[in-house]
Amino acid sequence: MDIQFKNVSYTYEAGTPIQHTALNNLNLTIKPHKFTAIIGKTGSGKSTLVQHLNALLKPTEGVVRIGNRSITPTTGNTQLKALRKMVGTVFQFPEAQLFGQTIAEDIMFGPKNYGVKPDEALAIAERTLKMVGLDASYLERSPFDLSGGQQRRVAIAGVLALEPEILVLDEPTAGLDPKGQHELMQLFSRLNTEMGTTIILVTHQMEQVAEYADDVIVMEEGTVAKQASPREIFSDSDILANNYLNVPRTVAFSNELAKAYGWNLSDMPLTTDDLAVDLMRYFKAKKEARYEG
């Protein structure tokens, strides 16, 4: 199921002096079963874009196509519920959406809204809770007794319980400790590779983009400034500078090496493992060159 935006514009508070255009004639395609990252500075329209992906906002102009469904400015609200089952959305600080007396109740909320029977929903709750790294003993506990990181996991489980084909994540790891961040990113990556879930990730962390994304969309003033592979984006210094984006740590490191010692690695190292391999390869080539010379 691919996602297509055609000439999409969205204006907040249209017709008042505080009106504000968040999306401006936006065109893009997101391919199914891929891991797509959306980056850009604050106010570039990332979050507004995300809210169009499950029709929480309808475009003021243009068409959003998700699979065989079209959302236009005039689409009726009744058609949107089915769409929202296909597109699960984890918002920024999703722990703010918790309300259940027990964790089970909270996770079962989504499936029940789509008519899943209680015992079946409970099974789903148990399964998704396990996916986010919490065992079944948590089911009967109150979500408000958990730590912030655990609340985040429960909230994410509540979205995964819808078993969506497309999972939209708006800065899902913000405010978590490094271990928690890593575990969540691994979970999303597994969903993508093992279950073929399309992942759309909004993030400010370039390391996540480098490590996990197949495709990157750079947003700038409500339109797409560039859509390409992480490798291409991180070698485009103009795009990076215009949008105040950094390169991942490993890329910065290899750039420094080239500048300070003239060590030019053959490849752009997107992850720490890449960097290790590249360095090894570099030393090997140097050694061989020395023996030959």
Partner: protein, 265 residues
């Protein structure tokens, strides 16, 4: 949701009405509501409508903003005025059945009640759209100051009021975010029977309350960290300034009052 909520919003235009002192606007609005209860025929209501239209014109705000503000309450007004029409006994009766009687007086009365609602709402919206909430609180604080002598903690009340006002938009944003998150999980807030609709509020209200308590604690901590000692004797960042225009506006309302008194039946 924010788009639909007109009452309590502020639109930052620059106009004659915007520049008036909030105290003048608050007094004028209250005065207007008092006057409208003296109006009792079409002529006087016409005068009252003219006053509001003049105000809207001077505020530079498009009329449709005001109409949008009345919309959520439209059916309530219609219902009330229909009740007035049916149950007002009159001299010239067109139709009578049991306690129901439709008369010329009843119909006029119904229309006037409807107009009264609409005009009062228009006037209140005119005040809130042109005045920042915090300025209105300043005005209320000013009018409460005399009660200080009776032991009323005016400074604290004003602080509570302005914190309350300050967090209305924040809570609205919060509510909107939570609604979005629950709608993303398949919740339909408009669906179902009345009981279901009330039950539907639980996934909205529980997180909202939870977040509000968190926020209140955070705010109290932040204020204590800055060594806040209570509001008495604090100076103000923005002082209220009464100008000749404010006197003029209140003066005109006195004249409107005299006109209405003369034209009423």
């Amino acid at each position: 949701m924010k788009d639909k909520m007109i009452i309590g919003r502020y639109l930052p235009y620059d106009s004659y009405i915007h520049r008036l002192d909030p105290r003048a606007k608050l007094l004028a609005t209250i005065f207007y509501i008092v006057i409208i209860f003296f109006a009792n025929n079409l002529t006087t209501y016409f005068v009252m409508a003219l006053i509001v239209l003049l105000g809207i014109h001077l505020s530079n705000i498009p009329v449709d903003q005001f109409i949008r503000g009345v919309k959520p309450m439209f059916w309530l007004f219609v219902f009330t005025s229909v009740l007035q029409m049916i149950f007002t006994p009159g001299i010239t009766t067109y139709f009578e059945f049991g306690i129901i009687s439709i008369s010329k007086e009843g119909i006029t009365n119904g229309i006037l009640v409807f107009l009264r609602f609409v005009l009062i709402i228009f006037m209140s919206i005119l005040m809130t759209l042109t005045t920042e909430a915090l300025r209105l609180t300043d005005a209320i604080e000013y009018f409460l100051t005399p009660f200080k002598k009776m032991g009323l903690p005016v400074a604290d009340l004003a602080l509570m009021l302005s914190i309350g006002m300050r967090f209305v938009p924040t809570l609205m944003d919060e509510a909107e975010k939570i609604m979005d998150a629950q709608r993303a999980r398949g919740m339909d807030f408009n669906d179902g029977t009345v009981t279901e609709k009330i039950q539907n509020l639980v996934p909205l209200l529980v997180p909202l309350f939870n977040r509000s308590f968190d926020r209140a604690i955070e705010l109290a901590t932040a204020m204590e960290a800055r060594d806040y000692q209570g509001g008495d004797g604090r100076s103000k960042y923005r002082e209220l300034k009464w100008s000749i225009h404010d006197t003029f506006v209140l003066g005109s309302f006195a004249i409107f009052f005299v006109i209405v008194l003369n034209l009423r039946r």
